[in-house]
Subunit: 187 residues, 2 copies
């Protein structure tokens, strides 16, 4: 089955005609390692569904320090969502860490498909529900936990990312120093 | 207009018959100051739409330290959403800080209304989109900003909460010490 169709139908079954309609809004793109899909200051026209590869969504503060908001791997959606939903300029970057392929689509696609196909509105609602819960867990981790607890939670949830993402970037994501992270890896 | 209807119709217009159907799933409840709507360990059967009053959603770590995940005021939704969506046990508490009224409804209500009324699925998707963006902003604040930046962002977004919520609880929400917060208020 088409990977886009399979991804959607895990949540919302579609007829062939409906899927044709959905598919017409999505474009496939190959992405090279270190290629940027979004740059700070860009108009954020697209959201991305990852087919393969690994990506990071991050921002840079006034002092030039980087902070990773999320990683993304196969089956995950990513964008600078604040800018995407408000059709504003990016405050973040999206960089490809491991080469792969993504589908991309516009906000109009999301809104129009949601309006025309109740099933697609359902699909996007369920994905947002999952994303909302994941973010709430992240907020709890950032508020309360020690570096070790954060590291352990990350290693439990994403053993594959732990293998494939440079340690420097995992430290950024967890909000711990690289030295602390090295101690945790060793421990 | 009925406040529930007004709240929903800001996003999704409903016919009278549709609103009757929606309304049948919601129950109004008066809440006293310091009353708990959710306790850690409870089954989380309901989500709450705040009509009036102020509430806090918080959890307590193994050492007994409290962390506030969100405040809620008129027009906001609240629950222990991880537990609510998974129909699991609460890891958090919801306490009323300023007396008021809430509507409450079950997960079945959300799912059934979304299935039967495309407009309601749209309503919940839009609310989740807004919640998702708000959480992403919170994650960025927690990752990168100084206590002063957090305080200023909070004061800008929620001047009413700044007036009505005890300083101790605002410090908890921002993840700063009470001493630091007092310095910021004075500054």
């Amino acid at each position: 089955m088409d990977p886009l169709r399979q991804h959607i139908e895990e949540i919302a079954p579609l007829t062939d005609a409906e899927f044709d309609q959905v598919q017409s809004f999505f474009t496939l793109k190959k992405v090279r390692k270190h290629q940027y899909l979004v740059n700070e200051g860009d108009e954020v026209k697209y959201e991305y569904l990852v087919l393969s590869g690994i990506y990071r969504v991050f921002y840079v503060d006034d002092q030039g320090k980087e902070y990773i908001v999320q990683f993304a791997k196969a089956g995950w959606w990513m964008s600078d969502y604040e800018a995407f939903f408000k059709q504003g300029k990016a405050s973040m970057f999206i960089e490809c860490l491991v080469a792969g392929e993504v589908f991309y689509a516009t906000l109009d696609a999301r809104e129009q498909l949601s309006k025309e196909l109740h099933q697609m509105e359902h699909f996007f609602r369920v994905k947002l529900t999952n994303g909302y819960v994941a973010q709430q867990q992240r907020i709890k981790l950032l508020l309360s936990s020690t570096p070790q607890q954060r590291y352990e939670a990350f290693a439990r949830l994403y053993p594959d990312l732990l293998q494939q993402v440079p340690k420097k970037l995992i430290a950024e994501y967890l909000g711990v120093s690289r030295k602390t992270l090295s101690r945790l890896y060793a421990g």
